[in-house]
Structures are given as structure tokens and as C-alpha cells.
């Protein structure tokens, strides 16, 4: 059984049919790419999967259960973490605090115990802080733990978003344009980090991305959408030469023509 399965999902905003009958399956442990020209509906798909929007039709099966229309917090609890296209970190909080926010499942102490600072509360708080530092280590952010998140350089902010998502102990990680604004050196590092997330942490990763150097190198399966509809799915090699994909991107960069790192 695949970890995530979309069955003919539709999302309509008033007059705009943003997602039309999209279906795909993502196997456990896959690194799955979702690409398409601007406005194709990729981020909308992410928003539908994570519960920000409710689809008009279709099912979204996560680990066999339909999560379509559930609230985002509930879906996150079930093990779906995401990052955002526009980086939505908590700018005035420190790096460590950003990660700790996502640790609800580690922090069972009640509000009353927080107000009274009971021993149970202190224990939970320490466990939370410890786990947060571990994740920051993994993403190479440990030194910045007490810095204000908003003052971090762009690339570090992106990594912080990932660390924060990892705090949920997710099975599935959705990355929305993680390579935006990166140069080729940083993009190479990102590829390694994505592989690390899958190989060492056992995550399944879905990637929305425009940077073809990243997509073609790190994704195993690529699903292409245009104007809300699926136009192709296959391995990077297949997608590179797929006529429909080339046609959709005509006028923009053609997939596969960037020099591989």
C-alpha cells in the first residue's frame, strides 16, 4: 500500500478550477517530485493534502485513511509535515523555539502545570528542548539555536523550516520549493540533505520544485501537472524527453537542459 494516494482530486476556487482530477501514488520511502509551469496547481495540491483547503471531489489516502477535508493540525499530527513556498517561520522567536513549537506530542503537561511549573512540566520541557537541539544538529543549525529566526540568512531559514517539520516525527515530508533562491552549490547540498532525510531518517519526501538540477537528480518519480491536470508521470529520464512536458514548458526553461552538478 502506498503511503500517500490521491484519487481524482478536484479543487475549485469560485471560477478557477485549480486542480482537476489529479491522481497519483507515492510509495513509502520514495523521493517524489511534483513539477509544472507556474500556476499549474502544485502548491494548491500541497495545501489540499495538508488540509488548508478541502477538495471538492476526490480522496486523499494517507496510510490507507482518507484525510481529505481534515483540519491541518490533525493531518500534521498523523505524520504529514510541510514547508512553505514563502518560508513561514516564526520570525520573532528563536531558532530553538521555532522547532519546539512543533513538539506538542512530546509535551503532555497541561496548562495548569505550565502555570505552576510542576516537576512533570519541567521534565517535558527538558525532553522537548533536547529533541529540538538534536534536530538542529542534524540540519546544521545547532550554533544558531538562540538566534532570532527572522535574522537568519535565507538558506538557514529554509533549513529551519525543515527542522521544525521534522519535530513532528512525520512519515511524509512535503517540501515546497526548497531550492528557491539557492545557487548551484547550495542546491547540491540540498540534494544531499534530501537523500539523507530519506536514507537515514526513513522519510518519504514529496518535492515541489522549479530548479531542475535538483528535481532531475534527486527525485525518483516525477509527476507533472499543467493547468491543474496531470500531463505526465515517470522517471527523470522519461520526463526529460516527454513531448507533453516539453510543450508545457515551451517558453520557459526546458527540463534537463541545465548542466547537472
Amino acid at each position: 500500500m502506498s503511503l500517500l494516494e490521491l484519487r481524482t482530486v478536484d479543487k475549485i476556487f469560485g471560477g478557477l478550477h485549480a486542480v482537476r482530477g489529479v491522481s497519483f501514488q507515492v510509495e513509502k520511502g520514495a523521493i517524489f517530485g511534483l513539477i509544472g509551469p507556474n500556476g499549474a496547481g502544485k502548491t494548491t495540491l500541497f495545501n489540499v493534502i495538508t488540509g488548508v483547503y478541502t477538495p471538492e471531489h476526490g480522496q486523499i489516502l494517507f496510510d490507507g485513511q482518507n484525510i481529505a477535508g481534515l483540519k491541518p493540525a490533525l493531518i500534521a499530527e498523523r505524520g504529514v509535515a510541510r514547508t512553505f513556498q514563502n518560508i513561514r517561520i516564526f520570525r520573532t522567536m528563536t531558532v530553538a523555539e521555532n522547532v519546539m513549537v512543533a513538539g506538542h506530542h512530546l509535551h503532555k503537561a497541561s496548562i495548569a502545570s505550565a502555570m505552576l511549573r510542576t516537576r512533570a512540566y519541567d521534565r517535558d520541557e527538558q525532553a522537548l528542548a533536547k529533541r529540538a537541539r538534536e534536530l538542529l544538529e542534524v540540519l546544521g543549525l545547532a550554533e544558531l539555536a538562540d538566534e532570532v529566526a527572522g535574522s537568519l540568512p535565507y538558506g538557514s531559514q529554509r533549513r529551519l523550516e525543515i527542522a521544525r517539520g521534522l519535530m513532528l516525527s512525520p512519515q511524509l515530508l512535503l517540501l515546497d520549493e526548497p531550492a528557491a533562491g539557492m545557487n548551484s552549490q547550495e542546491a547540491r547540498t540540498l540534494n544531499e540533505q534530501i537523500r539523507f532525510l530519506r536514507d537515514q531518517l526513513g522519510l518519504t519526501v514529496i518535492l515541489v520544485e522549479h530548479n531542475m538540477a535538483v528535481v532531475m537528480n534527486v527525485c525518483e518519480t516525477i509527476h507533472v501537472v499543467d493547468h491543474g491536470e496531470t500531463i505526465a508521470q515517470g522517471t527523470p529520464a522519461e520526463i526529460k524527453v516527454h513531448p507533453k512536458v516539453l510543450a508545457a514548458y515551451l517558453g520557459e526553461e526546458e527540463p534537463g537542459t541545465e548542466a547537472s552538478p
Binding site: 476556487f13 469560485g14 502548491t43 495545501n47 488548508v52 483547503y53 512553505f84
Partner: protein, 305 residues
């Protein structure tokens, strides 16, 4: 039945006044996404300007001689009040709102509340906190229609309100500024990029909205006989609820909302109890925000994530 019709007439005339004020709220919110808390005070200033202008034009002597105030002078009073209010509105925008236009939403909200409080209390200092009797800019003539008492004042309210609303409608549909106002309410950034002078359009919006509120103020004075510096607080709030009820940002919505609130208030006072005439507005506010926050004629906006 006649009592019911009476309440309807009264409710619609009150509602017309609310509608005139609500238009100002809705237009400003549509463009700036700002609740202009001070708008109720502009209404109040309009009423007082009419009061003083009529006095200056000798309304007292006409009253003493039991003659009607000449219609052309009444019209002059209206124009003066509307112009004064327009000037006030534009000044408020320039001094208090423009500096905080790009600040997080909280800041302009508090600024608006501050301006409102300032004008209320300044009004009490300048105009005397005691209620004043409104001059007979229009002398009352009553007549009966199907057992219902209608005064020329009520008819004037309908007429003036209707004219002004029609005028606004034509303005918004046919003139360049009106079209620009609509463009800004859809997407202010795009409008700026299209080369529209947004500051100019915003100024016009405030000016027009304030002028309409002033007209409402004079009509209110004629209808309710007394005015006081705090009259803008409750009436302004009711007009705001009217704008929300109709769909904030929607001009027809403000009209519909105003009439409905006027009717609801009058019917509540007549059939339930006068104690609750003010409360009904708050109840409507809460109901509409909980059940249909975009209002009766408003559109649901989806936030881009």
C-alpha cells in the same frame, strides 16, 4: 396594521440615514481594509456644521416669524455641511491614517479609535456637552396617508438619501475616479502598478464618504430634533453594523444593510421594548459575523497560502 406601517415608515427613514453613513464605512473599508472608527464623529460634525450654518444664515429669525426657512438656504446649509465634513475626512486621512497605512492591521485600528475618541471629546469642548435643539431648516408638515402619519421631513429624508445614493452610483459607475475606486477595492497594489494615483483616489473616497455622512447628520437632526457631541458613537456603530450586514466593501450592501438595521431597530422599539432598540443592532452584528461574515451581498475572499 397602521401601527405596523408607521413603524415601517419610521424604520425606513431611519435606515436611509444609516445607509448614508454606512456608505462611508464600506467605501473606506473596501479600499484600505480599515474600519474608520472616526466616521461616526464625521457624521456628528456634519450635523453640528448644519446647526451652526443654519444659525448663521438666520434660521432663528425665520422661526420667530413663523416662516419656513427658504429651500435655497436649506440647500446651502447642506452643501456647507457636506463640504466641511469632506474636508475633515480628508484631513483625518492625511494626518492620522496615511502615516500608518503600511503598519500591521492593529495599528491603524487603534489610531482610528484614537481619532474617534479625540473628536468626541473635542466636540464636547467645542460644542457644549448638552444636547442642542436642531433648527427648523425644514418646518414640519404632517399629513395622513392611509392612517399613517407621514411628515415632509420623512419624505425629505427619503428624497435626499435617494438622490445622493443615485449620485454615488452614477459616480462609481461612470466617472474615472469612481472606476478607480472600484479598482483599488479589488487590488490596491495592482492599481498602483497601473499608474493610478492611489492617494488621490483614497482622498476622494474619504471626501465622498464624509460628505454623505454629513448629509445623514443633518437629516438625523431634522428627524430626531436634538443633537449632542456623542451622537456619532451609537449611530456610527449602528451604521457600521449596517455596512457589515450588507457586506462590507459593497455599496449596494451598505444601502440594504442600513435600511434593514433601521427597520429592525424601529420594529424592536415598537413591538418588543424601547430598552432593547440599541441591543438589537449588536445582536444582529454578532449573528451576521458568526453566520455569514461576508455579509448579505458580500463576496467570500479566499486567503492565498
Amino acid at each position: 396594521m397602521t401601527q405596523f406601517l408607521q413603524q415601517i415608515i419610521n424604520g425606513l427613514s431611519l435606515g436611509s440615514i444609516y445607509a448614508l453613513i454606512a456608505l462611508g464605512y464600506t467605501m473606506v473599508y473596501g479600499i484600505l481594509k480599515l474600519i474608520n472608527f472616526a466616521h461616526g464623529e464625521v457624521f456628528m460634525v456634519g450635523a453640528y456644521t448644519g446647526f451652526y450654518a443654519a444659525g448663521a444664515l438666520g434660521v432663528a429669525s425665520f422661526e420667530a416669524q413663523n416662516q419656513g426657512f427658504p429651500w435655497y438656504l436649506a440647500l446651502l446649509v447642506l452643501i456647507i455641511a457636506m463640504a466641511a465634513a469632506a474636508l475633515l475626512g480628508v484631513t483625518i486621512e492625511f494626518l492620522a491614517y496615511r502615516p500608518v497605512r503600511s503598519a500591521p492591521r492593529l495599528t491603524p485600528l487603534i489610531t482610528a479609535i484614537g481619532v474617534s475618541l479625540f473628536l468626541q471629546n473635542a466636540g464636547m469642548l467645542l460644542f457644549s456637552p448638552n444636547p442642542q435643539r436642531y433648527p427648523a431648516i425644514l418646518s414640519e408638515v404632517r399629513f395622513e396617508l392611509f392612517g399613517v402619519i407621514v411628515t415632509n421631513i420623512k419624505l425629505t429624508i427619503f428624497a435626499v438619501a435617494l438622490c445622493l445614493m443615485l449620485g454615488l452610483h452614477l459616480f462609481v459607475q461612470k466617472t474615472w475616479t469612481g472606476r478607480a475606486m472600484r479598482a483599488l477595492s479589488f487590488n490596491i497594489d495592482a492599481a498602483k502598478l497601473m499608474g493610478i494615483d492611489t492617494n488621490q483616489v483614497i482622498r476622494s473616497t474619504f471626501a465622498i464618504g464624509s460628505g454623505l455622512a454629513a448629509a445623514g447628520g443633518i437629516l438625523f437632526g431634522l428627524d430626531q430634533i436634538t443633537i449632542n457631541p456623542l451622537m456619532g458613537v451609537l449611530t456610527g456603530l449602528k451604521a457600521f453594523v449596517a455596512a457589515v450586514l450588507g457586506g462590507i466593501g459593497s455599496i449596494p450592501g451598505a444601502v440594504v444593510g442600513g435600511l434593514l438595521i433601521g427597520l429592525a431597530e424601529q420594529l424592536t422599539a415598537g413591538y418588543l421594548s424601547p430598552e432593547y432598540r440599541d441591543a438589537i443592532t449588536f445582536v444582529i452584528l454578532i449573528l451576521i459575523l458568526l453566520l455569514k461574515p461576508e455579509g448579505l451581498l458580500g463576496i467570500v475572499r479566499v486567503e492565498k497560502v
